[in-house]
Amino acid sequence: MALAFVFLPVLLAGLAMAVPSNRARPWLLPLAAMVHSGMTVFVLMRPDLQRFSSWLVLDPLGKIILLVVSGLFLFCSIYAAGYLKYRQERSNRVFCACLLTFLGLMGLVAWSQHLGLLWVAIEATTLVTAPLIYFNRTRLSIEATWKYLLVGSVGIALALLGTFFLAYSAMGEGRQPSLMLGELLAGAPALSKPWLHAAFILLLVGYGTKMGLAPMHTWKPDAYGESPGVIGAVFAGGVTSCAFLAFLRVYQICLAAGEGAFASRLLLFMGLFSMAVAGLFMAGQRDFKRMLAYSSVEHMGILMLGLGIGEPALYGTLLHVATSAATKGLLFLSAGNIHRAYASKSTDQVSGAIRRLPISGSLFLAGFLAITGSPPFGPFISEFSILNGAFAAGRFLVAGLFLFFLLVVFVGMGRTVLKVTMGRAAAPAEDAGYRDGFLTAAPVAALMALVLLLGVYVPTPLGGLISDAIRYLEAPL
């Protein structure tokens, strides 16, 4: 089963390279996504299929990430089929193949129990997603791709050094070094502390670069701003979730080694710093896609903050992975539609989107309310739960700063979003002719329904997965 998750999308990517028709090729994306999400549901219901070998096991943390990314990819793939219909002037061969390969690599990330293999898969996601940013072939998109490649590669190289340090910390007294998660967790109390600390910092910086935590976030606004909206959605909900899973593994080892307090201090700092930087750059942001990138920086910060608070906030944190991924998908896809209708992503040209694009415009506005944590949407529940956790853990200063930064972000983001959606539609000269179509609007509406559902009621299977994952994080054996 594990192999199917990795190789089936890669095979389809090969097929995408071979299909000659630019019109037919994009339909491979929804096809792969439907099979993939079907397989995900199937494997989640069958515990006997969740172990392939000691290397490839779907543990509770992997299950959450697999479910979230597979679900998000399903919506994005349908949207992508619609989007590529508008972009027939350009070959989508590399685009489709890279997206499908990413899906396969994401499966490898979710299943991998060997930290070296995990690193290989994460590094490979960096490489296959680079051509996606470059899809528009403009000078600006080259610049964004170059920055993403360099910053991402260096970050991920540091994560490799951190992984090596981690293996080295397990050496000594004649023991063999190992990078198997189970062995590291079992021997965690005996890990050499200085090497473990160094490894944790390097891995935080390395995988944090991939997640886009400040101050390693510099590639993010460029990459999200210059790539198509659907790629922004895949990045903000998929690539970052993969990197977060990799980091969760490291966090788990740190907890098992009894170094929770050390990890917590760093995570709280990184989390709050990312939220502050995001709030700062979102204020007065004219480019609404870059604004969404900073919002992603903020939410990665919230995830780190939740981990830093620890046990009382873990439920909210893991739920936030799902709610923020769905909301990010909704925002990036609707932003892509608005961008296309106005041929601009600056508030200087874009206004009155609700009039010109009633569906995408209003969903963009609702998505803004959702991502900033307004009830009754999903992120409200998860952010509230993290806040509750902070109070329960007695971290009042952290809770206060968390609330303050949420407010700053709400105000900063609100100004831009209101400018985009409200008011009179801009001059007809700036009308690029695009109106909401079924394929590009329906996935956005479906994501909205999902975000709303998660806000009213967390489905029992998802709640069960999260409880399992918390138990697994605290006591892996």
């Binding site: 590094e123 610049e143 170059w146 920055k147 260096v154 000594g172 070094p177």
Partner: protein
């Protein structure tokens, strides 16, 4: 064979300084190719009786780091028709001094570390750290896209040296995966560098400065 191992590591450290000290791009790529080939062969020196899988991994590493990756970069260089680095942020001589300083510090610093293993050479950890630092120096102080990619390779070489301590923890499949990632990574970087050259008529990454707040 610790003597031979130490000798190779010293050569690697000297190559770092050469890489910092030349502005001719072709020479820099050649230096990194030699460094990569030497490092790829290191596992053969560490094991007394290298097994077949160690030999296969070493062969693949030499082929990749010493030949395939540099030839991709030389090709990109030929297509772009550039020969020299534009004047770097930190001059050539000062960057050699910085690199030498970093090497000296790494040697001093590693004496303080708790090294849990005395089987292999004591030079591995400092060589790894100083090579990684030199990679960073190249990445941050050079402006030509190709030279930044060379910096990334040197950084990766530094990390590769550290991996020598952990041969048991890194199975063949993972090592091959890492090498494949490196190859594909340099391939993608070379393609993008080529596009930069075509769109901006130069590989000077200072021209990539339109995206900012």
């Amino acid at each position: 064979m610790p003597d031979l191992l130490n000798a190779v590591l010293v050569v690697v450290l000297v190559l770092n300084l050469f890489a910092l000290g030349t502005s001719r791009l072709l020479a820099v790529i050649r230096i990194v190719a030699v460094q990569g080939a030497l490092l790829g062969a290191l596992p053969l020196l560490i094991h007394d009786r290298p097994s077949l899988s160690v030999a296969a991994a070493a062969l693949a590493a030499v082929a990749l780091k010493g030949f395939a990756v540099p030839s991709i970069m030389m090709r990109a260089l030929r297509d772009a028709q550039i020969k020299r680095e534009v004047e770097p942020l930190i001059g050539l001589l000062p960057s050699i001094v910085l690199g030498a300083l970093a090497t000296a510090l790494a040697l001093l610093f590693s004496g303080q570390l708790q090294l849990s293993d005395s089987r292999t050479s004591a030079l591995i950890v400092p060589a790894s750290i100083s090579t990684a630092v030199v990679g960073f120096l190249l990445l941050t102080t050079r402006y030509t896209a190709i030279n930044q990619a060379v910096g990334y390779l040197v950084l990766e070489n530094g990390i590769f040296i550290f991996g020598m301590l952990l041969v048991e923890a890194i199975p063949l499949v993972v090592e091959m995966g890492m090498l494949l990632d490196l190859l594909v990574g340099v391939f993608v970087i070379a393609i993008i560098a080529n596009h930069i050259n075509r769109a901006f008529s130069s590989m000077d990454t200072r021209r990539l400065a339109s995206l900012k707040e």
